[in-house]
């Protein structure tokens, strides 16, 4: 069980670029230790200069966006490296929901497995949300309602996002993927037993630990 997620309420930060890669989300400098401060590492190279000082022009260093809970961004978010630390960094910073017209595949999987909602918005919604953030730069507070697949803006304006129902369900219940899979243990072992019979070359003839140190 992980912490269930039903709504996310807070400031929405906008990063308008497309193809934001995971090297940008969490630069490799923060991957050198299992105990690195990932919240600080989020967009590290863009948030801080070489001396570790904040760059005032970056959105997460500005006013209410310093404690953003939602990130609105462009197509193909999270492309590049498979590093799951990209999602951990978002979550540790406090961002539990990313909205974009599309996501890179591995990032998308990683997000849900860590209780972060990756919601797909169409281009018109993305533009409308960005405009709403612009109008309310002092208090850009939105609520993402997962069961209702709705985003409610500061003016009470409602928008929708897309999420496959099973993924929404897993977040809402706080399901653990491994527990779910282990329910199919019999089918997994049956598959392996059959493979060993039909394809010994893939199993006992090549992976037996007794054959190789």
């Amino acid at each position: 069980m992980r912490t269930p997620l039903t709504t996310v309420t807070g400031a929405m930060a906008v990063l308008p670029e497309t193809n934001v890669n995971t090297d940008a989300i969490i630069p490799s400098a923060w991957l050198r230790s299992a105990k690195a401060d990932l919240a600080r590492g989020l967009f590290g190279a863009r948030r801080f200069d070489d001396a570790g000082r904040e760059r005032p022009d970056f959105v997460l260093n500005q006013g209410p966006f310093r404690s953003a809970k939602i990130l609105l961004t462009g197509e193909n978010f999270g492309c590049g490296s498979s590093r799951e630390a990209a999602v951990w960094a978002l979550a540790r910073f406090g961002i539990r929901c990313v909205l974009a017209p599309s996501f890179a595949d591995i990032f998308y999987e990683n997000a849900f497995r860590n209780g972060v909602l990756a919601g797909v918005v169409d281009e018109a919604t993305r533009a409308a949300l960005a405009a709403a953030v612009d109008r309310h730069r002092d208090a850009p507070v939105f609520t993402v309602d997962l069961p209702g697949t709705a985003i409610v803006g500061p003016d009470g304006d409602r928008h929708t996002f897309m999420v496959p129902p099973h993924r929404a369900g897993m977040l809402i219940r706080g399901d653990d993927e491994i527990d779910l899979t282990l329910r199919h243990l019999d089918a997994i072992e049956r598959h392996l037993a059959k493979a060993k019979l039909e394809r010994d070359w893939l199993h006992d003839a090549s992976t037996d630990t007794r054959q190789y140190p």
Partner: protein
């Protein structure tokens, strides 16, 4: 993952669909343990490879939940990302790496997983070690907590790069719960010109199709130009699949593949090998199989490629100039190109040929194999690296290093002034001590030219091994075809 993606997910995942199948369909279907009620497939993982920077938290998760590794015999581990590449290095040579390296050693020992660490002859980059040991085989499904796992597609294997939670999931269940990718095909027509390598045609393709073209897809590379490629070049092609967003890349295995696989440590022998080959011969795409996306690339006119920006799609032939961002019709692409040029310190209209470089890096899971080093050595033989250029050759594995030394390649590189290092990811990701200085310009055989990838404010130009060797010698980006006539 776009809405249209979802609808076709349903279509292709329908178990009742029979009829013509792609190479990908054949391998995938053989691995489906169960179709989950939620449009995903639970697939069996035949082979699992671990590297030190994406597995520590996975083992931590197992311990927290009190779970064991279900099939340790189906997993191997190595140390590649954060190891020092200083010749004769050990786990302590790069002090910044000792924590993760120590965790890898301890975790694998505790769970009975084979570990090819820096003290082992088989140590190397995961995507080099996996196939050269015969651990990855045609027709198998392999996962690794690293995006370039697609590399083994060059043998006709499904390689899926996953995140750390999924590493934990594979360790605990030997399966992945995953959306079935859609079928995409890219046909490479024509023959490669002189001085043109697999790296050039795949970079050219990414430039043509863009970095998101493959999202959600299993991409089969086909056509006469692919058939003609030796196995290591096919691995290079499949390696770069992730650079245009694909889930995995595949090339149908053939006699060249079987010859490559035979005789490796984990490869089955004797009658078991013959049974394997008989099955591998069926790993083909039916002539009338359907592809959700189908593209053709003409290889005839492809020049040596070099990137000018901060995304692999920012690429051009070495014989043209840095583009003017104004030429891009799409305003977002225009803005990105302008930002990329400012980061790279380049003016529109500057010929790519002639741009001075500070560092030349030959290595990585894209181009760190023996044939890559041979191509670079052919250019470097009898020459000298330009003054003020730091040039490194980092073999993809210690086996590659030994094979290269047996051929005397290390002498060619050392005599020319290249550093000849031990195996690892090195300057591809720069999380060990091999870092490009702020503002410095590096031409590299690796696969990513993102901002800060090779070190804070590093500037990266991606190219083939021969192009990088030629640039190291000239001190500037140069057309390797001219070196070859010289």
């Amino acid at each position: 993952m776009t809405p249209d993606h979802k609808t076709s997910e349903h279509k292709t995942a329908d178990p009742s669909v029979t009829g013509p199948r792609s190479l990908f369909d054949r391998i995938w279907d053989a691995h489906v343990v169960k179709r989950l009620e939620d449009d995903r497939d639970l697939v069996f993982v035949d082979r699992h490879v671990l590297q030190e920077t994406t597995s520590a938290q996975a083992f931590e998760g197992l311990a927290r939940a009190g779970r064991r590794v279900m099939h340790p015999e189906l997993t191997v581990a190595t140390q590649d990302h954060i190891v020092s590449t200083l010749p004769g290095r050990d786990e302590g040579t790069n002090p910044g790496g000792t924590e993760l390296l120590g965790l890898m050693r301890a975790n694998t020992a505790a769970h009975g997983i084979r570990h090819f660490g820096v003290d082992d002859r088989r140590q190397g980059i995961v995507h080099v070690m996996a196939h050269e040991t015969g651990f990855a085989l045609p027709g198998c499904l392999l996962t690794c907590g690293d995006s370039h796992t697609s590399t083994v597609g060059g043998l006709g294997a499904i390689g899926l790069g996953v995140g750390t939670s999924e590493v934990e999931h594979v360790l605990a269940t030997q399966t992945l719960a995953i959306t079935r990718p859609r079928n995409m095909r890219v046909t490479f027509d024509g023959a490669l010109g002189r001085g043109i390598s697999a790296k050039d045609i795949i970079l050219h393709m990414i430039g043509q199709l863009g970095v998101a073209a493959g999202r959600g897809c299993a991409v089969e590379y086909a056509g006469p130009a692919i058939r003609a490629l030796p196995i290591e070049a096919r691995l290079t092609i499949c390696n770069m699949s992730i650079e245009f967003g694909a889930r995995l890349g595949l090339i149908a295995p053939d006699d060249a593949t079987f010859a490559y696989v035979r005789g490796r440590e984990f490869t089955p022998t004797g009658a078991a090998f013959d049974r394997a080959v008989a099955e591998w011969r069926d790993l083909v795409t039916d002539p009338d199989a359907r592809f959700d996306r189908d593209f053709t690339i003409d290889c005839r006119q492809v020049a040596p490629q070099v990137t000018w920006g901060t995304s692999p799609q920012d690429v051009a032939g070495v014989d043209v100039a840095v583009p003017d961002p104004a030429q891009f019709a799409d305003h977002r692409r225009r803005d990105l190109a302008a930002a990329a040029l400012s980061y790279m310190g380049l003016e529109p209209g500057t010929p790519l040929e002639g741009i001075p470089i500070d560092v030349a890096f030959i290595g990585s899971c894209t181009n760190g194999r023996l044939s890559d080093l041979e191509a670079a050595a052919a250019v470097a033989r009898g020459k000298r690296v330009a003054p003020n250029v730091r040039a490194l050759v980092v073999p993809g594995s210690m086996s590659v290093k030994r094979e290269a030394e047996a051929l005397g390649l290390h002498r060619i590189f050392e005599n020319a002034g290249f550093e000849w290092r031990d195996a690892g990811c090195s300057m591809c990701v720069s999380i060990n001590e091999d870092v490009v200085a702020p503002g410095a310009r590096c031409i590299a055989t690796s696969n990513r030219n993102f901002e800060n990838r090779q070190g804070l404010r590093s500037r990266t130009h991606l190219a083939s091994p021969a192009m990088v060797a030629a640039a190291a010698i000239a001190g500037r980006i140069t057309d390797v075809r001219k070196e070859m006539t010289a």
